[in-house]
């Protein structure tokens, strides 16, 4: 049985007995996941490839619903007191509140300014001064203002990979989400850009709840407050990061973090 510690902080999200199956797959990819997510902290999800960590992450903002046939069989994800895997959930609204950063930088084919303003404009912000202020604030919070201030009109694809990823973070935080999901955000970046993103993640938790999927155990240890270890679709252990990497409660966790498999 899984070892899930109790969390003293307020919870941003509570997952209960979640089961999820991909279209046409014979077996569910998430099995009976029960997991609290602490508010204003960083929760890392680790585990070998195919363990379901990205699948779980993409359930939080219902990304799976973009493709037909994937089904949430059982369970619930509670957010703001309601079950967000309810079919009646307003997905546009949900995705404004729960933002996402992807494995690769995904700058849109438009200017730097328009990239960051995109989410704001979708919500109907038209006032120029307000747009300017919020874009500037988002770029500052994402630590990329200095490099972009004098070239906001330039094509965003002219930025380096690390800059583009920070631009994507600026774009996501411009709409002030409550939760930000990171899906292996540094897997395509060099070590120095990676450091920048990791610093940013730990800074951002002042303002929002962060869930980060990572392949890299050291990264989880560096940035997170809580770590969840997943294996074959199950959450094996959730614990405080500093405790879990020193004294894991589960045998599987111990074997994974000591490098016996992975």
């Amino acid at each position: 049985m899984a070892t899930i510690i109790n969390i003293p902080e307020a919870k941003a999200i509570q997952v209960n007995n979640l089961e999820f199956t991909y279209n046409g797959a014979p077996e569910p990819s998430l099995i009976d996941i029960t997991m609290p997510i602490a508010k204003n902290s960083v929760t890392a999800l680790i585990g070998p490839s195919g363990c379901g960590k990205t699948t779980l992450l993409r359930a939080f903002n219902r990304m799976h619903d973009l493709y037909p046939g994937h089904t949430y069989n059982k369970g619930e994800i509670l957010f703001e007191g309601r079950n967000i895997i309810d079919p009646k959930e307003d997905l546009i609204n949900l995705r404004i509140k729960i933002g996402m950063i992807f494995q690769k930088p995904t700058a849109f084919p438009m200017s730097i300014f328009d990239n960051v303003a995109y989410g704001l404009r979708l919500q109907g912000t038209k006032n120029k001064t307000e747009l300017n202020d919020r874009v500037e604030k988002a770029l500052k919070d994402a630590a990329i203002w200095k490099e972009t201030a004098d070239r906001l009109k330039d094509d965003a694809n002219g930025l380096s990979g690390g800059q583009q990823q920070r631009l994507c973070i600026a774009r996501a935080i411009a709409v002030e989400p409550d939760v930000l999901l990171f899906d292996e955000p540094t897997s395509a970046l060099d070590p120095i850009s990676t450091q920048g993103i990791e610093r940013l993640v730990t800074e951002l938790k002042e303002k929002m709840t962060i869930i980060i999927v990572t392949h890299n155990m050291q990264q989880a240890a560096r940035v997170s407050d809580y770590t969840g270890f997943m294996y074959l679709g199950e959450l094996i252990e959730l614990g405080k990061t500093e405790e879990m990497f020193v004294t894991p409660k589960e045998r599987l966790t111990n074997e994974y973090i000591t490098g016996k498999f992975g």
């Binding site: 973009l66 546009i92 404004i96 992807f102 849109f108 994507c168 996501a172 709409v175």
Partner: protein, 286 residues
């Protein structure tokens, strides 16, 4: 031994490639040579004169040139919105199970020989256009419609392929910000695929402007510039197809060759523009 074979192989491919260039150059030379008489005696007035009266030795190409441009323009206006709509449906909206059958049937439509479009246009479409818009039914409008139907499948298929190159992760990041499907198509997919879409439009334009069989049936071959698009008109390929057999004087014959030269130059320019778009796109993505 293998080295020798490699050398022979390399040289033979080189010779074949050069042959293609030679053929193009030869066509160009012949057209120019045959047009020489017309270029000398008609001068630049050939391009601006509206009177085409072979029996009086008067040759003005403007009605043919205008006919080509206007019928192609009409075809593009009619085909572009439909083609882009079909492409959006196929790449973003249709269910997986629908995509393949519809996609394949559209590609099959592109294989219909243009003479079939011409016959179908003459016997089926001309009466309909006559009933709705008046006039003779034969003319610029009918030619434009038939051409638009003919280039539509190609345009839709290439536009769809261009849209399909948009990475999922890019679309997902727009959805993750609360975008609707319409937002994603408008703000992400179309801008991302823009170069490919424009390239497909220009290639379709090149095909439409040189099209002969489909429009010969429905154009009317009347050398007049009419503001009324329901009236009969002509275009460069239509004039060529209809009049070579009747060319009884050297100047008439040479004037037709100059028309062909003009058409070749127009097509060359269009393809060159399309190419430069495609090249810019590959440079950017690589």
């Amino acid at each position: 031994m293998t080295m020798l074979f490699d050398k022979i192989f390399a040289h033979s491919t080189r010779i074949i490639a050069i042959t293609v260039l030679l053929v193009v150059a030869a066509i160009f030379t012949i057209l120019f040579q045959e047009s020489l008489l017309s270029i000398q005696s008609n001068g630049f007035a050939f391009l601006s004169d509206t009177k085409w009266a072979p029996n009086l030795e008067k040759f003005g190409a403007l009605p043919s040139i205008m006919g080509s441009i206007i019928s192609t323009f009409l075809a593009m206006i009619l085909a572009i919105p439909v083609a882009i709509g079909v492409a959006i449906f196929l790449s973003e909206i249709a269910y997986e199970r629908l995509k393949a059958p519809i996609g394949i049937s559209i590609e099959l439509l592109a294989a219909i020989p243009s003479v079939v479009y011409g016959m179908w246009g003459l016997f089926y479409f001309v009466p309909i256009v006559r009933d709705i818009f008046g006039g003779m039914g034969i003319g610029m409008l009918t030619a434009g419609i038939v051409l638009s139907i003919m280039i539509l499948p190609f345009m839709a298929a290439v536009t769809r392929d261009a849209m399909n190159t948009t990475p999922d992760i890019l679309k997902e990041s727009a959805y993750a910000l609360g975008a609707t499907k319409w937002n994603v198509v408008k703000d992400v997919i179309i801008p991302y695929a823009k170069a490919g879409i424009i390239g497909s439009l220009i290639l379709a334009l090149g095909r439409a402007i040189g099209e002969t069989m489909a429009v010969t049936f429905v154009m009317g071959n009347v050398h007049k510039i009419s503001m009324d698009i329901t009236q009969p008109a002509t275009s460069i390929p239509v004039t060529l197809a209809n009049e070579f057999t009747e060319a009884d004087s050297d100047l008439y014959y040479s004037s037709l060759f100059e028309l062909a030269l003009i058409l070749l130059v127009i097509s060359f320019v269009i393809i060159a523009v399309a190419k430069s778009y495609f090249l810019r796109r590959t440079r950017r993505t690589s």
